[in-house]
């Protein structure tokens, strides 16, 4: 709740929660990771050059680490965050909002991202980072094959990153569905915001799955559970399914924002409206939905059956058609325009070229019979670089496009064009050469002799590409100091509202309340705001600073670092616990819980706009909407665990398994949880009646029942561990039982902590006129109950 220091102060950047500051932090951090991933790419290309006089540059292991880290860094720590740098900066401006719906949560997302990257960096110094490829196939991802502590740390870094992303996803979903200025219907949103909206919708489901995958893998690596070790029960294929269920939507998640930039840039620099705007939006929606229906096309060569392959092939081809429409719409937009060849336009046009090449070569991969041969070769590498780096190309265009808005200064246009030319040449040399050398297996550096000249061309191209980035950084650095100052709108023919405010925009974005009633932006001044005046006055006290997002992220880094080496492995089994790492874990846990508590106690005001477009969630409070998005993603997390249990049991032979535990425990706990659900409902009833005692008693009853649930669970697990002598490491059936019900127990525990907090606050007199927190807790608690409704039969009856 502290004051926001000026931009020249370092402290400002640690405490800020303002979306534009966060956008700049994302930009700088993402570009840092571009350099990090880029240097790894240059190492890879140097290795591919061949013998450097006295052998290769790197050992096989080091090469695999470089390949893995390059993929992880570029996909997770560069591409998405770079896109979300623009999303942070521009979405609130484009929809006429003051900030994101949850500014402090937004800062938390950023710091989790930044420190997860630091954690990944640390992993290099813990006996080497992960070396299993960015697809992290099982069982190579287990300590038996990738024993370094750094490998575990890399997985945990990915997990931490995903936690931040999940928070960010909910934040953007609520913002776009809850804070659009008056008159801006969903269909009226700029196409960049549309692309971000669809991106976060995909992220909601896809990243929740990845979160579960991260949890499962971390549990295998740290606690010795056996999900991916169960190769006879399909553990390897399970990884394929879970990873690609996330992984395919991920391709569009990184690609959609790039399309969004291209739509804006094409319109601004051709002076024409996008052709078939509503069809373009329809195509984007179609792709977003279909992205969840094609994941097995990454698994054509595995042992999945022909029927499902055929279905996935048909759906894959289906998904290429809306993309065709988008490409044609972009091309036709140029016709009859007056196209100005500015750097942002050249980048976007270049991106379109890359996407055409990547798209056509992708059709080859969609044909299974060709995919059989392309699988694992440089054809795939070339194809997805044309698509994904092609997307990044548009994002660089976006950086040039919005640079004057974000900094208030213009870059040197001639240098920008030159830089693009070098970039374009370098790009094609690296990636087109890969098509020529396509028979080379991926991630291999000892290839057939005849391919040497082609790979060398690629290596030369990579260094040219790298040089173009040095040029870009110089151009921006120069512009920051000496660039010409710009006004609100340095480009002609722009239309989106970020160009209607000064460059850079003031902290609060708008003077007066933006409204789009009547078809274009106007401002309702405070004096004339009539009935809404009081609501708007209330908004004047929005907070912009908090140190706790930073503190939570640092302590989470410490906690995860401790976990990474907590258990000591001996090839296949856990042999002990490392005291040093245990101490780090303990410190991290205390610091984490402490800073979370402070985060909760801090009074941080981020009022929701009184007047806003909220379709299709009208009349909802932003916190409740956020809670429901959280529930939707938590369903996916449990869904992945349940899928794992079902898949493994099915491969093992469904009816050959009997429940491993007495069903009476499950039944008793079912009744306990149902009763606690009833108690939570009563708490809300009493809160609405204004009865402090009744509310406290009802939440108290909920807590008592929750604790009883845990007690029954303790008896049950005690029997398993100490009487039967089994644990999750006994066999994969016990793994699915312990880990799935264990995850549920963790949810109960979290619920109990929140309940304790609520009782404490109720005692202080809170919630008597605002019972919303009790309602939100209820929604969460009922969800935990619902999960048990399915876990009970799955592990106690079937």
């Amino acid at each position: 709740m502290s004051e926001l220091p000026p931009k020249s102060s370092v402290k400002r950047w640690l405490v800020t929660t303002n979306h534009k500051d966060i956008g700049i932090l994302y930009t700088v951090t993402a570009l840092f990771f571009l350099v990090f991933g880029g240097i790894l790419a240059l190492l890879i290309r140097a290795q591919l050059w061949g013998d450097l006089g006295d052998g290769r540059l790197m050992s096989g292991l080091a090469y695999n680490e470089a390949v893995t880290a390059h993929g992880l860094v570029m996909v997770f720590w560069f591409l998405s965050p770079f896109a979300f740098a623009f999303a942070n900066y521009l979405v609130p401006l484009q929809i006429g909002a003051d900030d994101l719906a949850f500014p402090r949560l937004n800062a938390l997302s950023f710091w989790l991202y930044a420190f997860s990257g630091v954690l990944l960096g640390i992993s290099f110094f813990q006996g080497g980072t992960l070396d299993a490829g960015w697809t992290i196939y099982a069982p190579l991802n287990l300590p038996a094959y990738t024993p370094s502590i750094g490998s575990t740390t890399a997985i945990l870094a990915l997990f931490m990153f995903v936690v931040g992303v999940t928070a960010s996803t909910m934040n953007f979903l609520v913002t776009i569905h809850h804070s659009r200025a008056e008159g801006m219907g969903l269909m009226d949103m700029p196409l960049f915001t549309w692309s971000i909206l669809l991106t976060v919708w995909m992220m909601l489901f896809a990243f929740a799955t990845l979160l579960a995958v991260g949890l499962i893998l971390a549990s295998d690596r740290i606690f010795g559970s056996l999900f991916f070790d169960a190769t006879t029960e399909g553990g390897s294929l399970l990884w394929g399914h879970l990873f690609w269920f996330f992984g395919h939507p991920e391709v569009y998640i990184v690609f959609f924002p790039a399309l969004g930039v291209m739509f804006e840039v094409f319109q601004s620099f051709s002076g024409r409206r996008i052709v078939g705007r509503k069809w373009v939006i329809a195509a984007l929606i179609l792709i977003a939905v279909q992205s969840f229906l094609v994941w097995m096309h990454h698994m054509f060569l595995t042992t999945i059956n022909l029927e499902i392959k055929t279905l996935m092939m048909a759906l894959t081809i289906g998904i290429s058609l809306p993309f065709d429409l988008i490409v044609f719409a972009l091309i036709y937009t140029l016709i009859k325009g007056r196209i100005r060849y500015t750097t942002p336009f050249l980048y976007s046009f270049g991106a379109l070229f890359f996407i055409v090449v990547g798209g056509i070569t992708g059709v080859f991969l969609g044909a299974i019979v060709l995919d059989y041969e392309f699988r694992g070769t440089y054809w795939v590498v070339a194809h997805f670089h044309y698509i994904m780096f092609g997307g990044a190309t548009a994002l660089f265009g976006g950086l040039y496009y919005w640079f004057p808005k974000m900094t208030g200064r213009m870059y040197n246009e001639l240098w920008g064009k030159l830089q693009f030319a070098v970039f374009f040449v370098g790009f094609n040399l690296v990636y087109f050469s890969m098509f020529a050398a396509w028979e080379t297996p991926r991630r291999v550096f000892e290839y057939v002799e005849a391919m040497t000249p082609i790979h060398r061309v690629g290596t030369v191209g990579a260094f040219i590409l790298a040089f173009s980035f040095l040029m870009m950084f110089y151009i921006f650095a120069h512009a920051l100091r000496h660039g010409e100052k710009v006004g609100d709108n340095p480009w002609d023919y722009t239309r989106t509202t970020e160009w209607a405010v000064p460059s850079p925009p003031p902290l609060e974005n708008w003077e007066g309340r933006p409204s789009f009633e009547g078809g274009s932006l106007n401002f309702v001044s405070k004096a004339t705001d009539g009935g809404h005046a009081s609501a708007h006055d209330h908004e004047g006290h929005a907070d912009h600073a908090s140190i706790w997002p930073f503190a939570i992220s640092v302590s989470m880094l410490v906690l995860l670092l401790g976990l990474s080496g907590l258990t000591v492995w001996n090839g296949r089994e856990i042999t002990g616990v490392s005291t040093g790492y245990a101490a780090v874990t303990a410190i991290g846990t205390v610091a984490f819980l402490g800073s979370m508590l402070q985060f909760g106690r801090e009074g941080f005001s981020a009022p929701q706009p009184a007047v806003a477009e909220r379709w299709p969630f009208e009349g909802m409070d932003k916190n409740k909407l956020g809670t429901w998005f959280f529930i939707a993603s938590d369903i996916m997390v449990f869904g992945a665990f349940i899928t794992a249990a079902i898949f493994i049991r099915f491969e093992a032979g469904w009816t050959t398994w009997q429940p491993v535990t007495d069903s009476i425990y499950g039944l008793v706990n079912t009744f306990i949880l149902l009763t606690s659900s009833f108690a939570v409902v009563l708490a809300l009833v009493y809160a609405r009646r204004g009865s402090k005692k009744g509310t406290m008693a009802a939440i108290g009853a909920t807590m008592f029942l929750g604790l009883s649930f845990m007690a029954v669970k303790a008896v049950e697990w005690h029997e398993k561990f100490f009487i039967d002598g089994v644990s999750w490491a006994t066999n994969v059936q016990y793994t699915t039982y312990f880990m799935t019900t264990g995850l549920h127990a963790l949810h109960v525990l979290l619920g109990l902590m929140i309940a304790a907090w609520l009782i404490f606050r109720t005692k202080e007199g809170a919630y008597m006129d605002d019972d919303r927190p009790i309602e939100l807790f209820g929604i969460y608690w009922h969800f935990v109950d619902i999960v048990w409704v399915f876990l009970f039969p799955l592990f106690y009856l079937f």
Partner: protein, 245 residues
């Protein structure tokens, strides 16, 4: 399934180069399909890119520009462009849909052929079981003989190959013959080979550990008689005796 295969064979047989038995090796199927895709792909690519370049040049902003800008103001809500271009959009989309769907249906018939393998009499086939491990390949023959590093098969014979792994996920691939199968622990994938006499490189196409780059083996396709002679000499029981002696 059976019927479909027959139809597919009917399509592919006339084109079979290996005439005498009336089936095509995977490399030939691949080459045919790839050529068609490459021809269409390059044609479409060139047309699209040329059209892009033509328009971006034609409608460039200059003194005598032929295009014009639509009047817009900052902050106006977007409207759909009113033009005939939307119609054009759907014509192009339909055209691309036809091209893509025709290509894929064509490729799918080839897939069914490859999935089923060519129809030959049972006794004409032989079977080799491949097991990948960090970092090499074991080849097990029907008589129980196991050999690492070199896979030997007779020329122009359909060899059924089953592939699995002892440890991590590998991928068994022979680029020249366009043969590939995932080598997954706990799973058995199937493919088939038929090749001319010669030596071919077997590589691993899935990252499997630090010596992934060196995980190679040789496929030795031998003359029929030569192979028979070699195969006769590989009695697994003899091998154990030798080892003991």
């Amino acid at each position: 399934m059976h019927r479909t295969t027959e139809t597919v064979n009917a399509v592919f047989q006339p084109m079979a180069h290996a005439g005498q038995e009336g089936w095509q090796a995977q490399a030939e199927v691949f080459w045919e399909v790839f050529s068609v895709f490459a021809a269409v792909g390059i044609l479409v690519g060139v047309v699209v890119v040329a059209y892009m370049m033509y328009n971006v040049y034609k409608y460039r902003d200059s003194e005598d520009a032929s295009g014009e800008v639509e009047s817009v103001e900052v902050g106006e809500l977007p409207r759909d462009a009113m033009s005939k271009k939307s119609k054009k959009l759907f014509v192009s989309l339909a055209l691309s849909a036809v091209i893509v769907i025709v290509l894929v249906v064509y490729a799918y018939t080839a897939l069914l052929y490859v999935e089923a393998g060519p129809e030959v009499e049972e006794d004409a086939e032989m079977h080799v079981h491949v097991e990948g491990y960090q970092f090499g390949w074991d080849f097990e023959y029907e008589n129980g003989h196991v050999e690492a590093g070199t896979m030997r098969i007779p020329e122009n014979t359909v060899v059924r190959v089953t592939v699995t792994s002892r440890d991590v996920w590998h991928n068994f691939g022979i680029s020249e013959l366009r043969v590939k199968a995932d080598s997954i622990p706990g799973q058995t994938a199937e493919t088939w080979i038929s090749a001319e006499e010669g030596e071919y490189l077997i590589e691993c196409f899935e990252l499997c550990g630090d010596a992934h780059s060196q995980m190679v083996a040789t496929l030795d396709v031998m003359e029929e008689d030569e192979f028979e002679e070699w195969y006769e000499g590989t009695n697994p029981e003899d091998e154990t005796e030798e080892a003991e002696g």
